[in-house]
């Protein structure tokens, strides 16, 4: 099972290697060789995933664990079953084609190194998502895909639109990711495990739980944002600012299917209730209609494909939402169909963009003559997308219709098939808009360059995908028995038996398809009129678009709010910070211990024996503290403060704590000198007396701290010493850690992690001082940094 580790971590290793070698690589002219070298990574992953397939055929799902935080059940754990293999093959297979395509697509001027670095990081993260068997592992990889997507959308970061798109994608998917994490925790409270394969067996417990609905909603928020479901779909069209290979890979074939994947993965545990169907299928169908409605409006070919992706994702989501075994099979079949034709079409758009210098349908048209090969590929892709026979898209659309006819929990038996048909009419129309406008009709304006066909290297990947799309239509059995059945049975929880065929005889779905085509052609003929009506509508009611909510509500609404909060919290006055922190800590902990503690008995207070030396130390301590407050001269005040420290240290000596005393002495000596150095910057005398109000608040805080600490002292004295851990440490220190100095053993061994963080904080403080003092010297430099927007 080590091959699963290689599958997930090989891309990460490649990414890391690129990062480490980048200084060296930037000096040499690697040309296209880098791309070829990188293509080895996805190719290896494809081979390794295929090698896992026989095992799944023979013995079903298998898992593989590496403990991470064992106490909390968090581990790096992988699940190999039909679903993860199907997605793994999609990710690495299309990954390979995209890398090959990008060798042609990215010119010499582009930063190829950075591109492959992020692309490999994404591939590893995505493979991690689909193979994870632990919710936390899945979440970690999930967030990594968001981060790498952010980097790739912002690949041309000098463009405003790229940065806008990247931020939008990160914000929306990030918020969804956090909701999903909360959902995972709720799910844990139901099941008591983070292990996905165990969770999948606990479906009845989960569905019966009171937390079923909140867990489902929170996790679904994560899936819906990631898979661009309405109303969170708005990030996907803006993500099209990424280079085309990225759009083909992340934003159509793989990353946006992560949400679909998780819904599919968790459907044995969650599906089968009316709420599930209402939520998942409801959102999916809405998305499908909205995506189709928006897609026919687009003149930018990539925008058209983006909205079409949204629509298709909605369709898959809806099928998963129906929750029947048949609909699960249909969803799986459509996942692979969609990945095939959509990636091919995106690559064709990249070729058109390269060839014409634009991809806008107002400039691009009639490319059939200039781009004969691209045309053939686009023909296959568009016809499959439109759901016409002999292509894979036809089979899955028929299955979709069939599943709408038999969906459970539907109050209106004709409504769902009606929605399905109307959404598919949009699909038909925009598929033909892509094909006919792009390759047959002449455009109203001429493109910047005279169109030319891409070389064989650029055509290789989309052509291969087109062949697969055709094969999916004419020989579906090969794919079905190879992996699709296994995937479908992982989703539905029952053994699937897929009998895919193009011809099922004349039945209801075929009649529905017939109407789709007829009305689709009609809509396509009237497309210009429809679009002008749509434009008028969106002009009149702009607030109907979720984009409006994001731009006005989020981008313009949130910053003033955060700024107001920030100004209130971060006033820049250190004294105010400290007063707030100290008062809060004191009152909250005091309140907590009062509500839980027993009344004070003072029993041991009066048993304590005090001698003359103790008393003298006390008195000196009080005098020194008063002096610290009363001195008008800063240096005297610091020395008096040091004095209190030394007296406390002396007290440790009296009580027999040499380690503490030694530490305290040294801390005081070094601290006094450091404070003196700091105070070099300040005037020697304190400013004029603070106002009365400040004095009162200072005194009340001091009194509060003093009394709370006194209370704690008394409380500690009341408690029984046998309950403390000291005895245990004394006993096991030498045996477990080989040290007789228990204080030190506690510091470096038993509580080693605490110490590590302490020294880390200590180092960070030094870095902070460095920044403050070194940057202060160059005010020009700072203003440059802040002013360079």
């Amino acid at each position: 099972m080590t091959s699963i580790l290689i599958i997930v971590f090989f891309p990460f290793a490649a990414s890391l290697l690129l990062l480490l070698l980048s200084p060296a690589l930037q000096k040499i002219n690697f040309g296209t060789r880098l791309g070829w070298a990188i293509s080895v990574v996805p190719f290896t992953c494809v081979a390794l995933i295929l090698s896992l397939l026989p095992g799944v055929h023979a013995g079903g799902a298998s898992t593989f664990h590496i403990p991470w935080v064992p106490r909390y059940g968090i581990e790096l754990s992988f699940l190999v079953d039909g679903l993860s293999i199907l997605f793994g093959l999609l990710i690495s297979g299309i990954g390979f084609l995209v890398v090959v395509y990008s060798i042609w697509y990215l010119s010499e001027k582009e930063d190829r190194l950075k591109f492959y670095l992020y692309l490999m990081m994404f591939m590893g993260a995505m493979l991690g998502v689909v193979f994870s068997n632990n919710l936390f592992g899945l979440f970690t990889f999930w967030e990594l895909t968001s981060v790498s997507s952010f980097m790739l959308i912002g690949f041309w970061y000098h463009k405003d639109v790229s940065r806008y798109g990247a931020t939008k994608a990160l914000v929306i998917t990030g918020v969804g990711g956090i909701a999903m994490l909360a959902g995972f925790i709720v799910l844990y409270s139901i099941t008591g495990t983070f292990d996905i394969s165990e969770i999948l067996l606990m479906g009845d417990v989960i569905r019966a739980s009171d937390f079923y609905v909140p867990a489902l909603i929170l996790i679904f928020l994560g899936c819906a944002t990631k898979s661009a479901q309405f109303p969170f779909h708005v990030w996907l069209p803006n993500a099209m600012e990424a280079p085309t290979p990225v759009s083909a890979y992340l934003h159509s074939a793989t990353m946006v299917k992560a949400g679909i994947f998780l819904v599919a993965r968790l459907s044995p545990a969650f599906s089968g209730t009316a709420f599930w169907t209402g939520l998942v299928a409801g959102v999916g169908l809405t998305t499908m209609v909205v995506g189709g409605y928006m897609a026919i409006r687009q003149t930018d070919l990539k925008g058209l494909l983006a909205y079409s992706t949204i629509s298709q994702l909605g369709m898959i989501m809806a099928m998963l939402g129906f929750g029947t075994q048949y609909s699960a099979e249909a969803a799986i079949v459509h996942i692979i169909n969609h990945a095939g034709f959509k990636a091919a079409l995106f690559m064709i758009v990249g070729i058109i963009d390269h060839g014409c210098g634009t991809r806008d349908l107002t400039y691009v048209g009639g490319l059939k003559k200039e781009m004969p090969h691209s045309f053939k590929i686009a023909l296959v892709g568009c016809l499959s997308m439109a759901g016409l026979p002999i292509f894979g898209g036809f089979i899955s659309k028929e299955m979709f219709y069939e599943s709408t006819l038999h969906m459970p929990y539907s109050g209106f038996p004709y409504l769902i098939p009606f929605i399905a048909v109307s959404a598919s009419i949009f699909t038909f129309a925009y598929s033909f808009k892509f094909l006919i406008w792009g390759f047959f009709y002449d455009a109203p304006k001429s493109p910047p360059h005279h169109p030319h066909e891409a070389p064989a290297l650029g055509l290789f990947s989309p052509a291969l995908l087109a062949i697969i799309v055709v094969l999916l239509g004419i020989a579906p059995g090969f794919f079905a028995h190879g992996v699709l059945e296994l995937a479908a049975s992982a989703v539905s929880g029952k053994t699937a038996d897929l009998n895919l065929a193009l011809w099922h005889g004349v039945n209801t779905p075929l009649i529905m398809s017939f109407f789709t085509v007829v009305i689709g052609i009609f809509l396509f003929m009237r497309l210009k009129k429809v679009v002008s009506v749509q434009d008028k509508l969106s002009e009149k009611v702009p607030w109907l678009s979720p984009n409006f909510v994001y731009n006005k509500g989020f981008l313009e609404g949130i910053p003033p709010l955060t700024q107001a909060c920030m100004r209130w919290f971060q006033s820049g006055n250190l004294k105010q910070y400290l007063s707030v922190i100290i008062t809060f800590v004191m009152l909250s902990t005091f309140g907590l211990s009062i509500s839980q503690g027993n009344p004070l008995t003072f029993a041991r207070l009066f048993q304590t024996e005090l001698n003359f030396v103790h008393l003298l130390t006390f008195i000196l301590l009080i005098v020194a503290s008063l002096a610290t407050v009363c001195f008008k001269n800063r240096i005297s005040a610091i020395l008096a403060l040091g004095m209190t420290g030394f007296l406390v240290a002396f007290f440790y000596v009296l009580m027999g704590a040499p380690d503490l005393a030694l530490t305290q002495f040294l801390v005081e000596s070094v601290a006094v000198i450091l404070i003196l150095l700091v105070f070099y910057f300040l005037p020697p005398y304190f400013k004029e007396a603070p106002p009365q109000r400040t004095k009162i608040s200072d005194i009340s805080i001091s009194v509060l701290v003093g009394s709370v600490m006194t209370y704690y002292m008394l409380m500690v004295m009341d408690s029984h010493l046998t309950e403390t851990i000291a005895g245990y440490y004394l006993e096991v220190s030498e045996k477990l850690a080989g040290g007789r100095n228990v204080v030190n053993v506690v510091i470096v061994d038993f509580r080693g992690l605490d110490t590590m963080f302490e020294i880390a904080v200590f180092s960070i403080a030094a870095l902070g001082v460095y920044g403050m003092l070194k940057l202060k010297k160059k005010p020009k430099h700072i203003s440059k940094v802040l002013g360079s927007k």
């Binding site: 070099y680 007789r740 470096v748 061994d749 110490t755 030094a766």
Partner: protein
């Protein structure tokens, strides 16, 4: 601080402080001492030198990098000890003790991985304190 008495005392005391601090560091696991205390004591030695001589005997100003490396290196050392525990012992910061018969002197010496961690603590504490001192002092 231009005082002959202080300069003379520094000459005698600061080496003792530093050597004694190393002694405290190495014995820390068994007897009072340890990385934190030793680090503070070493920095106290540096503070003395700095106060007595400024940059005249040791060029704190131009050699401040030494101390930056000291605390970053110390932090790395502690972290690597933790990682070593992860790979050898099974979890992060897992400690181990080895008893080794030393050649020539034929004594049984004990090596605790926690002591290496402690050296990291020592380097961080000392490095940070002296860095802070030089940073603040540079402004004078």
């Amino acid at each position: 601080m231009n005082s002959l008495i202080f300069k003379t005392i520094t000459k005698v005391v600061s080496p003792i402080l530093m050597i004694f601090s190393l002694y405290l560091l190495l014995r820390g696991h068994q007897l009072p001492g340890g990385g934190f205390i030793a680090g503070l004591m070493t920095s106290a030695g540096f503070v003395m030198i700095y106060l007595a001589y400024g940059c005249e005997r040791f060029d704190f100003k131009h050699r401040s990098r030494v101390f930056y490396f000291m605390f970053s290196g110390g932090l790395a050392l502690s972290f690597l000890t933790g990682l070593a525990g992860l790979f050898v012992g099974g979890y992060f910061l897992k400690s181990g003790v080895a008893h080794v018969e030393m050649p020539l002197i034929h004594e049984n010496w004990e090596f605790a991985s926690a002591a290496v961690f402690d050296i990291g603590v020592y380097l961080v504490v000392c490095g940070v304190c002296v860095s802070l001192m030089t940073l603040l002092g540079e402004e004078e």
